[in-house]
C-alpha cells in the first residue's frame, strides 16, 4: 500500500496507524457568539501546526466532578485524525490519539 505524505511524516516520528499519544498539546480555540459554538481551531503538536477541519464528534465525560470535553476531528486536508481532551478544571489540552487512516 502506498503511504500518504502524512503517513510517511508520522512514520518518521515513530507514529503508525491509530496510536495512543497522551501528550500535552497547544491548542487555539475560537468561540462564535452568533453560532454559539466553541471549537478547537489550530493544534500545535511536535513542532507542527495543524488547522482543524471537520469536527467528527464532540462529547463530554465526567471524571469525578471534573468535566472533560472530548473532540474528535480531522485536519483541513482530511488526512489526520486527532482525539483531544480538554480538562475543564485547569483548561489543559491533552492529545489522546492520532490516526492517519491506515490499518498497517
Amino acid at each position: 500500500m502506498e503511504l500518504s505524505n502524512t503517513s510517511v511524516f508520522l512514520q518518521k516520528k515513530g507514529i503508525r496507524m491509530r496510536e495512543k499519544i497522551n501528550e500535552s498539546v497547544s491548542v487555539v480555540m475560537y468561540y462564535s457568539a452568533t453560532k454559539r459554538v466553541a471549537a478547537p481551531h489550530t493544534i500545535s503538536w511536535r513542532n507542527t501546526e495543524y488547522r482543524v477541519g471537520k469536527i467528527g464528534y464532540h462529547h463530554t465525560i465526567m471524571e469525578g466532578k471534573t468535566l472533560h470535553h472530548i473532540y474528535e476531528l480531522v485536519d483541513t486536508q482530511g488526512s489526520l485524525w486527532f482525539r483531544l481532551n480538554l480538562d475543564t478544571s485547569n483548561l489543559h489540552w491533552n492529545l489522546e490519539a492520532v490516526h492517519d487512516g491506515n490499518t498497517h
Partner: protein, 412 residues
C-alpha cells in the same frame, strides 16, 4: 376465539441506529467512513467483534467473529475497542431528539427506541408518521452527525414496528399495517420475525408451521395448546395481528457484572482480586439506585467450554461492596477449577428498596458499614471511580474496564 387483524392506523414507531457503535466511530473519525470498521471487546486476536460497519458486514465481519477471523476476512479492517462514554452520549442525544415529539419514548437498548404516538399532539396536528419519521431522521443527523443513519419502522404495535424497521437497512423507513401485513409476511422467513429464534422455529415446524403466513393463520387454540403450551401462544396470535401485548415495563430484578479475562488463569488469588472489582462495580450500581439485595450468584466459564454457577439467598442485607465480596468469595471457594478461567460474573438479586431502612435492635455496626459504603461512593463520585477502594483492590484501576450493556439502558 380468533381475533381479527388490527386495521387501525399505525401509531407506534420503532427507531434503531444502524450499526450503532461502528457508525458512531465512523462519524467521529471521517477517515474511517466507507471503510470496514469493527468494534471489538479487545483488539487482541481472540477479542470478539461486538459491532461492525456495513462495509465490514458486507465482507462477512459480523457480530461474534473474533479479531483474528476479521483480519483474515479483510486485512484492511479497522479494529477499534469500545468507547462506552461516547456511545452513552450518543444514546442521550438520540433520546433528546425523540423527546421533542412525545414523552412516550421507551429505550429498548442503547441503540433502539420505541415511540408511542397515541394521543400525541404531533399526530393530532394532522401530520403523518412518515412525515414525522423523515424529520426525525434529519434531527438525528443534526444532533449526532451527518454520517449517522437510522432505520424507522411504523406499525400498529411494537412487534410490527420493529419488524418494519428491519425490512430495509440501512437508512430505511417502512410501514406495516392491516392492509400490507399479509404481503410483508409472505416475503419473510420465520426467524425474520423479532422474538422467533431457531428453537421457536423448530417448535413451530413440529406443528407444521413453516412460514410467517402459516403462523398468522394458525388457530389460536393450536398455538396455545400445541406450540407454546401456555398463554404465550395467545400473545403471539395477538402480536402477529397487530394488537399490542408488549407494553409491559419490567422492574429491576438484579444487578450484575461480568468480565472476560484478558489473561486466562486458574490462580484463585488472581480470581479473587478480579472478583473484588466486579463486586465493587456491582455494589456501586446497587447503591446508586438505592437497593439492598439478599441473594448472590457467581458463575465462571472455563477454556474447556465448561461452566460453573451457583446462587444462594443470604441472611441479612447485601449492600456494601464488602458484603457482596464476602458472599461471592465464599462461593468462589467452592469452585472446582478444571481449566483456566475465561469469564467470571457476579449478580446480586432479591432486591428491595434501601429506603426506608428496616432497623434492627442490635445492628449499629451494620448501619456504620452502610454509611461507610455511601461515604466511599460519595468520594468516588467526586474524584472519579476507584479513588477509594478496599485494600485488596489496590492497583487494579485498569483491570476491568467499563463496558457497554447492549440490552439494558437502566443505568444510562
Amino acid at each position: 376465539m380468533e381475533i381479527p387483524i388490527n386495521h387501525n392506523a399505525p401509531q407506534v414507531m420503532h427507531i434503531d441506529l444502524n450499526s450503532c457503535f461502528a457508525i458512531i466511530e465512523q462519524q467521529a473519525n471521517p477517515l474511517l467512513r466507507h471503510r470496514p470498521v469493527a468494534v471489538a471487546a479487545y483488539d487482541s486476536p481472540g477479542g470478539m467483534v461486538i459491532a461492525s460497519s456495513y462495509e465490514a458486514k458486507a465482507l462477512g465481519i459480523k457480530l461474534g467473529v473474533n479479531v483474528r477471523e476479521a483480519r483474515l476476512l479483510s486485512p484492511d479492517v479497522h479494529v477499534l475497542t469500545p468507547d462506552p462514554e461516547k456511545y452513552f452520549n450518543a444514546h442521550k442525544r438520540f433520546k433528546e431528539v425523540l423527546l421533542k415529539y412525545t414523552n412516550e419514548v421507551t429505550p429498548k437498548s442503547v441503540d433502539e427506541f420505541v415511540i408511542d404516538f397515541r394521543g400525541s399532539r404531533v399526530l393530532q396536528a394532522g401530520r403523518s408518521l412518515e412525515d414525522i419519521g423523515m424529520q426525525i431522521k434529519q434531527d438525528i443527523k443534526n444532533a449526532l452527525g451527518e454520517y449517522v443513519t437510522v432505520n424507522i419502522g411504523i406499525g400498529p404495535n411494537r412487534f410490527l414496528a420493529k419488524l418494519a424497521a428491519g425490512l430495509n437497512k440501512p437508512d430505511g423507513m417502512d410501514r406495516i399495517d392491516g392492509n400490507n401485513l399479509r404481503d410483508i409476511y409472505a416475503g419473510l422467513e420465520l426467524t425474520d420475525l423479532p422474538g422467533i429464534n431457531v428453537r421457536y422455529e423448530a417448535r413451530l415446524n413440529i406443528a407444521g408451521i413453516y412460514t410467517p403466513l402459516q403462523f398468522l393463520d394458525a388457530p389460536v387454540i393450536m398455538l396455545r395448546k400445541r406450540v407454546f403450551k401456555s398463554i404465550v401462544g395467545f400473545y403471539w396470535h395477538l402480536r402477529l395481528r397487530g394488537h399490542e401485548v408488549d407494553m409491559i415495563k419490567f422492574g429491576r430484578k438484579s444487578f450484575g457484572q461480568q468480565y472476560a479475562l484478558a489473561k486466562k488463569t486458574r490462580d484463585k488469588q488472581e480470581l479473587s482480586r478480579l472478583l473484588m472489582k466486579l463486586c465493587e462495580k456491582t455494589g456501586r450500581r446497587l447503591r446508586g439506585q438505592d437497593y439492598i439485595a439478599s441473594g448472590i450468584h457467581l458463575w465462571l466459564g472455563f477454556e474447556n467450554r465448561m461452566h460453573w454457577a451457583k446462587g444462594k439467598r443470604v441472611r441479612g442485607d447485601i449492600y456494601a461492596t464488602q458484603d457482596i465480596y464476602l458472599h461471592a468469595q465464599k462461593l468462589l471457594n467452592e469452585v472446582p477449577i478444571p481449566a483456566r478461567v475465561t469469564n467470571i460474573g457476579v449478580t446480586v438479586f432479591n432486591l428491595r428498596p434501601a429506603n426506608p431502612q428496616q432497623l434492627g435492635l442490635f445492628d449499629d455496626s451494620r448501619l456504620d458499614a452502610k454509611s461507610l459504603a455511601r461515604a466511599a461512593d460519595a468520594v468516588n463520585d467526586r474524584y472519579g471511580e476507584f479513588t477509594v477502594v478496599p485494600a485488596s483492590m489496590a492497583n487494579m484501576q485498569d483491570v476491568i474496564i467499563k463496558r457497554v450493556a447492549f440490552g439494558s439502558t437502566n443505568d444510562l
